[in-house]
Assembly symmetry: C2
Homo-oligomer: 253 residues x 2
């Protein structure tokens, strides 16, 4: 049975402030937690109904996580989902270090103030699909451990490293360290399909409402645009969709 | 001032059943409603605060819509948004007719049971960007007038025709009428980038949880897959993201 204090603690992890202070984050649902247990991430504790425990005995034993059997009623009390699903886990935030020297032969993604947790999750999932293991975010970009982001990544969060740093100095350092293109996704830039940009490179994507900051656009070496159909009145594409199209095109080449 | 009956009526439009019965749908927010007024869609009524009315006098006069000035408090009572934004409009659902003969020289999109309103909105926005004016949906696909879908289309809903019909007979009829490829997005199909498929064609996208039905896969002429990076453990891409990547690639060719 869960103590009142434990419930209070678990619920407090829905706040970013607490997650940062404790260095923890939460994962919910049968499939995402199974992926978490199979990943390299250190687990703090797992709260699961008997049915789930029975099915995942081996995975649990291997992870060495503290296991707390709970009832469905208890799960509802700690869950952040509308419909809780068998298991709730707490994990330690990995302390990865951003090493500029390892980025030279990769496609690297940088996000400037992306604010929607769902978009962030979608982008992490895209990165995982296309083999991008590093995303560098401006400090105001939504936290990768936001529960909605964790949910939207469908397990990809455990396989992609997400860093937060001031992007302008990062881009300048990247340019000093590597001769690769720094590619800004903008409106009114060069046609993506005709652009010579290839991976390895650094791809800069802007926020939903304001796009990329002027400083970052100026620091880039290439400005590219996904061309709309002739006569289209659509003003823009969702940032997740834009990222997907550009990354796919760079991977194709 | 809004009567109690009017408020009741406007709130009832949050239910699909009422929208279908009345042949109406709702649009909220300064920008989406301005796009609605500028479109060919027939407007039923507009509920706006003074500030918005002053800014959009010409557009309103031109539309011939019934205009009801409201206070912010009244707007909150009829709104389906967490933070209502200046204006709420009711519009007539256009009665477009799906004409198979007009589809032969186009890229046409078909959706099999896509269920998330946000994904549906994203896909309509992608279609608008890439100049796709026809989306054909299975009867169980989420309604294009779902308020969350309307919101996610960012105005693109007013420029793309969305139809609902049984997809299997539709695909058979399409194949009889046109020699174009019928392209199914699947897991484990041919590499998208190496595939010979070009527009005009019919592109079939499946649901978030079950993908395409077997019948539709069998009825297709080409099975294509967005190749994941070697070693990627990601299981799939979001259906909006997948649609974006495939449509972009078909448009590029």
């Amino acid at each position: 049975m869960l103590s009142v204090n434990r419930i209070k603690f678990l619920r407090s992890l829905s706040a970013k402030k607490t997650r940062v202070f404790e260095g923890l984050f939460t994962v919910e649902g049968a499939k995402p937690v199974a992926e978490l247990l199979g990943s390299a991430i250190k687990i703090h504790s797992v709260y699961a109904v008997d049915e789930w425990i029975t099915q995942h005995k081996q995975l649990l034993a291997f992870s060495g996580a503290e296991l707390v059997p709970v009832t469905y009623t208890e799960l509802e009390r700690i869950s952040q989902l509308a419909t809780p699903n068998q298991v709730f886990a707490v994990a330690h935030q990995p302390q990865a270090h951003l090493d500029l020297n390892t980025l030279g032969d990769k496609l690297v993604l940088a996000l400037d103030d992306v604010s929607d947790p769902g978009n962030m999750g979608t982008i992490i999932r895209i990165a995982d699909w296309f083999g991008i293991d590093t995303i560098v975010c401006s400090p105001n970009t939504v936290e990768q451990y936001n529960p909605k982001t964790v949910q939207a990544t469908m397990g990809s969060l455990f396989r992609v490293n997400v860093f937060y740093t001031d992007l302008l100095p990062f881009v300048e350092d990247y340019k000093k360290a590597h001769k690769n293109p720094v590619c800004a996704a903008v409106l009114g830039g060069d046609d993506l399909y005709a652009s010579p940009v290839k991976s390895p490179c650094l791809l800069l994507m802007g926020s939903e409402s304001h796009g990329l900051s002027v400083g970052l656009i100026n620091a880039s070496t290439h400005k590219i645009t996904i061309p709309a159909a002739v006569g289209s009145k659509a003003e823009s594409l969702n940032v997740g969709v834009g990222t997907a199209i550009i990354v796919s095109e760079l991977r194709r080449r």
